[in-house]
């Protein structure tokens, strides 16, 4: 037996230890070759009578991250070839058989007649945890960094190698569904409490304990293969089942708006599987897995949220000629909400921070905000007291620009006013070498014009953080006309250190994210003016896949800000640049009613000290007589919300603001929560086909106005049958 990914050794007691340690990889992943070698190992264990049992362990810091998602596009190609050659049903059969290989292998291991033990160190996720679940005994390392979980749902998949069936036979149904839905990772203690592992031990003792278990009581039979096995929650059709299932179906809809087929597949697989013997249950799970693997949503989510995001995280847009930039200490100017957030994430990731504001009190105030954030983390058990002390020690507050000396990067997050920003730029350059990269955190002011106040515009760059900084994982890096490669490399290295995802965009009004978001908000205003009930605007936006409705979002960012932007736009670009319906709505809200949003407790919603916010009844002023909400085309409303953002995203590409569709997709999901199941604003277009998108936009433009008119680029691409992504990635869209 020749193995590349594993070593296989037998001790004097006849216990084999299979050590998973893939060459040239820092992390074990499940590949075609891992699957075939595991198959060999199981055969070996079965056939060698001297082998009593087998311990599976990892030779790396982590057990394994699970299946290699890159593999999936292979399946896509194979499917397409088979479909053309043999027809659709035959292709489906082939795809089904291939997609359940891992499940079949694990079941073979589970029923091979000899005990298998998994010893879990570090992370053990997805298909790797499913391997552990198929083992007869699981020992997990007590190390803090050890985690088990089934995170497939986060990329539009679900556990398809027995995960749904074994979890639902280990945990009460409600807990099992929650564990599968959330894709959360559990530490050893929680895993033990939930009976997902049998034993917790120090890493170095795990193998010995595994051997002891095999010798002393090792039974090669899973609980569900025993005669008297009962599901933890009993039968589906029972009083207990009636408490679980109707609510589970409803909560699925509440959480997903029925937009995520993988989450629904979990419900199906568990509901159907629990009424069947394990083998039949695994078969049903495989049927759903094959279907979901071929879904448009899974393909789009894997591409944007896994592949593209990883590529961007690893510096896809970083100028290769520039070596790694050493970043130890950064300066943050402006200790307000944003500045404090930037200081926090920087210190959290080991950077020293000089937090500067116009006076010491303001600077200290910013540090106090950091203290609150980290303290909340500590009280939730996500950080230790030592982490907290370390972070606070790394942040030095000051009003003295001289203290910036020694900083490798300076980021300003002061008030969005040209004069204020210019003043900061000047004062920084008085004390620092002009070679130190200066980054401006702005969401509205063009970087090129800000850079004009700098002595070295090639070292001037925009970094647009999203609020709240500690939660939002996107950073928009904005290139001014003169921004140089070193500045870009520095900014990207910084973003990487603080573990956020960068997209690189060229300078324009609103950059990328805000252009799309403002369109979304404006569409809400226009609908309101049309007489659509406000609740419907909010609910349908969420049903379309957005995290919040446009009116809520507007309340959060402030209505008076929107009103100011509108007036500025009007001043700069003329009367026609603003939408009259939006102008009317904002004028009424801000000028007439003084409703600025959450900040003054009244916007589109009323905000009370206790209880939930509720829509302001005064919005009824926009109601139209004889307006029948039953006649509204809900699916068209959803399209309006997504289209108006996607068409803007396409414009940013047409204008060269965004240079890579991956950045538009990842940026739209991480930056403003664009319907993740679509794969992002550009994948949304690709997903329906550019031709169809153009037709849709033209139809909406006729009905609702030229703001939906697609850019020429899209018409050309449609005419040439082009796509933003290579064709091979979309053959799955069945």
């Amino acid at each position: 037996m020749k193995l590349e990914n594993f070593s296989f050794e037998k001790d004097k007691d006849g216990i084999a230890v299979l050590t998973w340690d893939m060459p040239d990889r820092s992390m074990n992943v499940i590949t075609e070759s891992v699957i075939s070698e595991l198959n060999l190992v199981v055969d070996e264990v079965i056939s060698q009578s001297s082998i009593k049992g087998c311990v599976i362990t990892s030779g790396k810091i982590n057990f394994s991250g699970g299946a290699d998602l890159n593999l999936l596009s292979q399946g896509a190609k194979q499917y397409e070839v088979a479909r053309l050659e043999k027809g659709e049903e035959a292709a489906n059969v082939l795809f089904f058989e291939n997609s359940r290989k891992l499940s079949v292998l694990y079941r073979k291991l589970e029923t091979c007649g000899k005990p298998f033990v998994a010893t879990i160190n570090g992370v053990c996720l997805g298909g790797a945890f499913e391997l552990a679940l198929a083992c007869h005994y699981r020992i997990m390392s007590s190390d803090e960094k050890s985690k088990i979980g089934l995170p497939e749902i986060k990329v539009g998949l679900f556990p398809g190698a027995g995960g749904t069936q074994r979890i639902a036979r280990l945990m009460p149904t409600g807990d099992a569904l929650q564990f599968l839905f959330r894709g959360e990772q559990l530490k050893a203690k929680a895993a033990l409490t939930n009976k997902l592992v049998h034993e917790v031990a120090p890493t170095e003792e795990m193998i010995d304990r595994a051997k002891i278990w095999i010798i002393s009581k090792g039974k090669a039979q899973a609980p569900w293969d025993m005669k008297d096995f009962k599901n933890p929650s009993g039968k589906v059709f029972s009083a207990t089942g009636m408490m679980i299932w109707p609510a589970a179906n409803a909560i699925y809809r509440r959480e997903t708006f029925d937009n995520y087929p993988a989450a629904k597949a979990i419900l199906h697989a568990v509901y159907e599987g629990l009424q069947l013997p394990i083998d039949q249950g695994l078969l049903v799970e495989s049927r759903w897995f094959a279907k979901i693997l071929r879904s448009k949503e899974a393909m789009a989510m894997i591409r944007s949220l896994f592949l593209s995001k990883n590529e961007l995280d690893k510096g896809a847009r970083r100028p290769k000629a520039i070596g790694p930039v050493a970043l130890h200490k950064i300066g943050v100017i402006g200790a307000g909400f944003m500045g404090a957030g930037v200081a926090y994430v920087s210190a959290l990731n080991g950077l020293d921070v000089v937090l500067l504001d116009r006076d010491q009190v303001s600077a200290d105030h910013g540090k106090e905000a950091v203290n609150k954030l980290i303290s909340a983390s500590v009280s939730k058990g996500r950080a230790t007291e030592a982490d907290k002390q370390g972070i606070l020690q790394r942040i030095e507050t000051t009003q003295d620009y001289l203290k910036l000396r020694g900083c490798d990067l300076v980021i300003e997050a002061v008030f969005e006013e040209r004069i204020v920003k210019a003043e900061v730029t000047r004062r920084v350059q008085e004390v620092l070498d002009p070679q130190v990269v200066f980054a401006s955190n702005t969401s509205t002011l063009p970087i090129t014009s800000l850079a004009e106040t700098s002595l070295s515009p090639e070292n001037f760059i925009g970094v647009h953080f999203f609020s709240p900084v500690e939660k939002m994982s996107l950073v928009e890096v904005i290139l001014g006309k003169k921004t140089g490669d070193r500045a870009l490399a520095t900014a990207l290295d910084f973003v990487r250190i603080i573990k956020k995802t960068p997209i690189v965009v060229n300078d324009t009004r609103g950059f990328f994210a805000n252009r799309c978001v403002l369109n979304f908000i404006r569409e809400g205003h226009i609908m309101l003016r049309e007489g659509v009930p406000p609740a419907m605007i909010e609910n349908v936006a969420r049903m379309a896949g957005m995290p919040v409705g446009p009116l809520s979002l507007n309340d959060e960012v402030a209505l008076d800000l929107g009103w100011r932007i509108l007036n500025a736009t009007k001043k700069d670009l003329g009367e026609k640049a603003v939408d009259p319906a939006q102008e009317e709505v904002l004028h009424f809200m801000v000028e007439q009613e003084g409703r600025f949003g959450r900040k003054n407790g009244k916007g589109f919603y009323d905000y009370l000290a206790i209880g939930k916010k509720s829509l302001w009844p005064g919005l009824s002023i926009f109601a139209q007589e004889n307006f029948n909400s039953g006649l509204i085309d809900i699916s068209e409303m959803k399209q309006r919300f997504l289209c108006i953002q996607a068409v803007e995203a396409a414009r940013t590409i047409a204008e060269g603001v965004v240079m890579d569709p991956r950045e538009a997709d990842v940026g739209s999901i991480l930056g403003f929560g664009f319907a993740p199941f679509t794969g992002g604003a550009i994948s949304y277009i690709d997903g329906m086909g550019i031709k169809n998108f153009v037709v849709l936009c033209d139809r909406l433009a006729i009905k609702y106005g030229p703001r939906f008119t697609p850019p020429e680029l899209l018409r050309e691409m449609a005419a040439h049958n082009q796509t933003f992504y290579p064709e091979t990635n979309s053959v799955f869209a069945a």
Binding site: A250, Y252, D258, M536
Partner: protein
């Protein structure tokens, strides 16, 4: 097409559907046997004449399972040549049983049939027979399943009925039912339930609370808010009707139908069958209809099915003298009144299920008798009986005195 005539209609009083209810000791079979025996006696049947007995039952399981209609005819002393069939269209089962029994006459295949229904909610339990609808993701999700009470609250929210509106209607139902009893209006149809020693167990509807007033109802907490919020059904309601910001929880035990035990039967036959038995017909089944309605809001089917029925039968709304709209929840009736702009003086004039109770499989057949008795008393002609139905359906029947 032969006409289907109603020769008689009987029902048990409705017993409170709890272990301390007067009919709890009586089996489902016992309940229906009582009314079948009474019908036999009142109409002078030998027991050989019947072509079919169709009975509604919503939870046909356990003692009520396995075609209770066949068991009932034998136990009631009818000839073994009388067949029986049990049907289930949830809350309209009793009315659908009458309609099917009538259809057997109208089609010319049968001469004499019984349509009726039975439900011992205290003994079998609501939902005891199970269902894919709320449980199986393949239907629960696309159908936007929510418990009926949440759907009723959704109707109230969508169509603008306040807590005061629904409570006022409940008080009216109680008052009307109490008045009807005090004037003996139900006596013609009521068959007291007796024990084996001929001792009366119940001769009057037991669920009523005539003393109910607005103040008493105001003290009751909404029944469905907790489940709606914890179980995620509020979100389901809003996704089905996104124009709604939040549900207004107005329903509670006092303005929803009562859980009760009971049975009913209606004797239906051709003109010829009546002549043979020397019975004169009391009315005829003029037309009936079934329909599916939007399943999420679930309980608005009476409006849809009434439109369908009137169009097919060529009857105008104003031709109808009386309406029986099952009081599953107050909002169901209020929505019906609102949709047709009806005069409350024509609708549920002797109260309804809020006061009297709703023995699921039997109610529809009971309402036929109630409507017929009242038509006769008022010497009026046409009544319409309709019920809302789980999973979004409606059934309605037009009866007409000769």
């Amino acid at each position: 097409m032969p006409k289907a005539f109603i020769y008689d209609a009987v029902r048990t009083p409705r017993g409170r559907g709890k272990p301390d209810g007067a009919l709890h000791e009586v089996s489902s079979l016992g309940l229906i046997v009582g009314v079948l025996k009474a019908l036999k006696e009142r109409c002078g049947l030998s027991g050989e004449e019947l072509d079919d007995v169709v009975l509604g039952c919503v939870d046909p399981i356990g003692e009520a399972g396995g075609d209770i209609a066949r068991a009932a005819v034998i136990a009631a002393g009818y000839s073994y040549r009388t067949p029986g069939v049990q049907i289930n269209r949830f809350c309209a089962s009793g009315l659908d049983a009458v309609n099917l029994a009538a259809a057997e006459i109208m089609s010319g295949q049968h001469e004499l049939t019984i349509g009726g229904g039975v439900e011992s909610m205290s003994r079998v339990g609501i939902g005891a027979s199970g269902s894919a609808w709320p449980v199986d993701p393949a239907i629960a999700i696309p159908a936007y399943f929510m418990p009926q009470g949440v759907s009723a609250d959704l109707i109230a929210t969508k169509y603008g009925f306040s807590r005061e509106d629904v409570d006022s209607y409940a008080v009216l139902s109680q008052r009307r039912a109490a008045e009807a009893w005090s004037q003996g209006k139900f006596l013609r149809s009521i068959v007291p339930v007796k024990d084996i020693n001929n001792i009366t167990l119940l001769d009057r509807d037991e669920h009523m609370r005539p003393e109910t007033d607005m103040q008493a109802l105001a003290a009751l907490k909404p029944s469905f808010s907790f489940f709606a919020e914890q179980g995620g059904f509020d979100a389901v309601a809003i996704q089905a009707y996104p124009e709604i910001e939040k549900l207004n929880y107005v329903h509670h035990a006092g303005n929803s139908s009562g859980i009760v035990d009971g049975a009913a039967a209606v004797l239906i036959g051709s003109r010829q069958a009546g002549v043979k038995l020397s019975l004169s017909p009391r009315a005829r089944i003029r037309a009936f209809a079934n329909i599916g309605s939007e399943p999420a809001i679930m309980l608005t089917g009476p409006v849809d099915v009434t439109n369908k029925l009137l169009a097919r039968a060529g009857v105008r709304l104003e031709d109808i003298d009386l309406f029986e709209v099952n009081e599953a929840f107050a909002a169901v009736v209020l929505r019906y009144l609102q949709a047709f702009q009806l005069d409350l003086e024509k609708v549920n004039v002797n109260g309804g299920a809020i006061a009297l109770g709703h023995p699921l499989g039997a109610t529809g057949a009971m309402l036929i008798g109630t409507a017929l008795d009242e038509l006769e008393r008022r010497n009026k002609s046409i009544a319409l009986v309709t019920l809302c139905i789980g999973a979004g359906m409606g059934t309605a029947t037009l009866i007409e005195r000769l």
